[in-house]
């Protein structure tokens, strides 16, 4: 009894009704390097402050010292769950800036790759939502189909995660037959898997109870917060860059833009699933269009841009012109025109924009990446306040936050 009188507590600790919880930056449930300092009352979140920037690598500064083709590997490391979309977005920006017209076959091949990347990204995001609500099976099961997508990348560009796929003007090499065979295998098998994945979750009572009505946001707030991509569409706004500002011949394809209504975790999950079905349909259409090219047309895999597209190695050894271009490109001695451009593409988690300012030099004067999840992560405290701590975890994974993109 005597000893209790000697305990000294920090000032204010008795009066304080809430607990401070340091969630992250290396907590397994954050799926990336995110820190949240939360005030919780029991299990209810009262307030939350995020801190970001743990893996900031100064990409925008690095880009000011690099030629256009050297910036592609930087873009890999933004949203590393769908690197090909970032790569293509960067090539499309350069091409628009330099007024390069790409052949249709290149556009269609790019769309195949971009939609595969979208599927692999949504697949990770949705299956992780499953993991966070307690269903590990879906995640393990679909992982083999992401593996198949990565094998297709590997056939096309030689690498899997940080792909550096394609070049300004097209692809570095034509698609091999193996790539098409693997694509066919994917198109045959994947719809059944997605169907099974959906039947595991969509009408699953536990999953619905966990995700419905948590992490919701209204369309007006979402727009004010700069939401884009599936997160915005889950609130009911049918904004998709592929439709609003078609690039890479998306206007030639027939697809719908799925939308939700409540903008909660369940709607985000449904929108992503529906988008995967659309992506499958786009890939099928694109593959059919690619097969329709015959003869010499079926061999085209890049545009004719000698200033930026590396010539074939045989030509470099035997042809003066090609040797000169090879040297100029590698040494970065090609001057860009003056001007500025903002070019958006529909990334897997939102509008990925590239703002390029050129002063006529060999490297960008300024390059800014509009990173979708950096902008919409601001809304996180608003989404989770008043909810349970365990719902905050699900909300975080269903927003599809990618640390590499957030911190640039």
């Amino acid at each position: 009894m005597e000893a209790q009188h000697n305990i000294t507590l920090p000032e204010g600790s008795i009066e304080k009704k809430t607990t401070t919880l340091n969630f992250g930056p290396t907590h397994p449930a954050t799926h990336g390097v995110f820190q949240n300092i939360m005030e919780i009352d029991g299990e209810r979140v009262v307030s939350s402050v995020q801190s970001v920037g743990f893996i900031h690598r100064a990409f925008e500064k690095l880009a000011e010292r690099r030629n256009l083709y050297q910036i592609t590997p930087i873009t890999d490391r933004l949203n590393y769950c769908s690197s090909p979309i970032n790569n293509m977005g960067w090539h499309l920006t350069c091409e628009k800036f330099l007024n390069v017209q790409t052949p249709k076959r290149v556009d269609y091949l790019r769309i195949i790759i971009m939609e595969l990347a979208r599927i692999s990204d949504h697949l990770i995001c949705n299956s992780i939502v499953g993991v966070d609500t307690g269903a590990y099976t879906g995640f393990l099961y679909v992982m083999q189909y992401r593996e198949l997508i990565y094998e297709i990348y590997e056939e096309v560009c030689g690498s899997r995660l940080t792909t550096n796929i394609g070049r300004i003007g097209g692809f570095e090499r034509n698609f091999t037959n193996t790539a098409f065979t693997k694509l066919e295998k994917f198109l045959n098998e994947y719809p059944g898997v997605l169907k099974e994945f959906e039947s595991l979750f969509t009408r699953n009572r536990i999953f619905m109870e966990r995700t419905q009505g948590t992490g919701g946001i209204s369309a007006a707030r979402a727009m004010n917060y700069g939401f884009t991509g599936p997160n915005l569409r889950a609130t009911g706004v049918d904004y998709d860059v592929r439709v609003a500002n078609p690039y890479s011949s998306y206007q030639d394809f027939d697809f719908t833009v799925p939308v939700g209504t409540t903008g909660d975790n369940y709607d985000r999950f449904l929108v992503r699933n529906a988008e995967m079905w659309q992506s499958i349909s786009i890939i099928k259409q694109a593959y059919q269009k690619v097969q329709e090219f015959k003869g010499a047309e079926a061999e085209i895999f890049h545009a004719d841009v000698p200033e930026y597209y590396l010539p074939k190695k045989e030509d470099v050894y035997n042809n003066m012109e090609a040797l000169i271009w090879h040297f100029k490109i590698i040494m970065g001695e090609v001057e860009m025109p003056k001007g500025q451009i903002y070019n958006p593409v529909e990334g897997a988690n939102g509008e990925l924009g590239f703002y390029l300012v050129s002063d006529g030099g060999r490297t960008p004067f300024r390059l800014h990446f509009r990173r979708p999840c950096f902008i919409y992560y601001q809304a996180y405290p608003e989404l989770i306040t008043g909810g349970m701590l365990s719902d905050a975890v699900v909300t975080m994974s269903s927003l599809n936050l990618i640390a590499g993109e957030l911190d640039a």
Binding site: V52, G53, Q340, I341, A379
Partner: protein, 166 residues
Amino acid sequence: MALTNETIQAQLEAKFADQVTNFSTDSGMLSFESPAAFNLKVMQYLFDELGFTFLTDLCGVHYPDNKDAEIVVVYHLHNFIENIRIRFSVAVPVTKPDVFTATKIFESANWMERETYDFFGVNFVGHPNLKRILNVEEMDYFPMRKEFPLEDQTRVDKDDEMFGRG
């Protein structure tokens, strides 16, 4: 009335007269400049009257050679209904980089302005929480300014053996 670059320009000029200048069209996107004191008035007008209700992007650019207009803040706005984008920019001297904050109009400006402050030192007047966001708070310089060049790629004073190139 459908909005086009020309009608937007005409309406802005009718409203703000010579406070909006340097209209140009880069790759189909209308861009213009306004004085830093007018940025909120222009943005509010675009938001209320012309339907630019989405702030796509906000970033800074440093032009060290433009005397008294070294730091430029660039806004990209988007009208979802008419599906049209515009860009407008305000320039401020590097010695006094004060720009009014857009956080009252767009919540999304909050972090984008913090990022611009972090890298260019733009002081967003009225911002609720103007702190560094990606860099450490102890940093005492603004790294994206042009006076901080990257390493010279042709330097020869490095010991190659230390870098695995011996």
